[in-house]
């Protein structure tokens, strides 16, 4: 399967702590995107990192990409109860399918107030 694989499958932390989620993928990518899904609803785009970028920030989010290890990580700093959701990485593989995303099963994050 070409889908991204998130790790861990579930993560439970206290409010104010940092949360780190990891993603591994299989072959060369054009970009990698992270999405959030709140309780069985639609996905919300968080951040896109291109294959020639190593780190990207957006507010409390920090994404890193290591193409040599075919892995990415999403760090949420100073977590809030509202961050409770499932987080998905979606690699966009190079070539004709670069506009097609492949999703894994996600990391379910629970932030305890």
């Amino acid at each position: 399967s070409q889908q991204g694989e998130e790790d861990p499958q579930a993560l439970s932390i206290q409010e104010g702590e940092n949360a780190t989620m990891n993603c591994s993928y299989k072959t060369s990518i054009n970009n990698l995107q992270w999405y959030r899904q709140n309780s069985g609803r639609g996905l919300v785009h968080l951040i896109l990192i291109r294959s020639n970028e190593r780190e990207k920030h957006s507010g409390r989010l920090r994404v890193t990409l290591d193409t040599s290890k075919k892995s990415s990580s999403l760090l949420i700093t100073a977590s809030r109860a509202a961050d409770t959701a499932s987080y998905f990485c979606a690699p966009a593989y190079s070539g004709a399918g670069s506009y097609q995303l492949t999703f894994g099963k996600g990391t379910k994050l629970s932030v305890i107030p």
């Binding site: 054009n30 919300v44 097609q100 099963k105």
Partner: protein
Amino acid sequence: EAGVTQSPTHLIKTRGQQATLRCSPISGHTSVYWYQQALGLGLQFLLWYDEGEERNRGNFPPRFSGRQFPNYSSELNVNALELEDSALYLCASRSRTAGETQYFGPGTRLLVL
């Protein structure tokens, strides 16, 4: 700007029936993607339409089909429904000119009894 809309929000069918799900993309977006999210299976790519044509389909049987209309809205049809078709069906749209991000609708929850 209105987001991606999907209808109906919920759909209950019995085995063997047909289901039709609808999606309206964000204005100006020409690409529409369909995903199935069954319990415990993550998001599975179903279909990708762009400019009225099917660009790619995932590993699903032919009874899953769809089309894209001249106004870029899309329809997903599932024939001969089976119990395991019960899932959340998500539609996403993308702008051909504005990059790789996909914008998701709230989904249609299909229950097959």
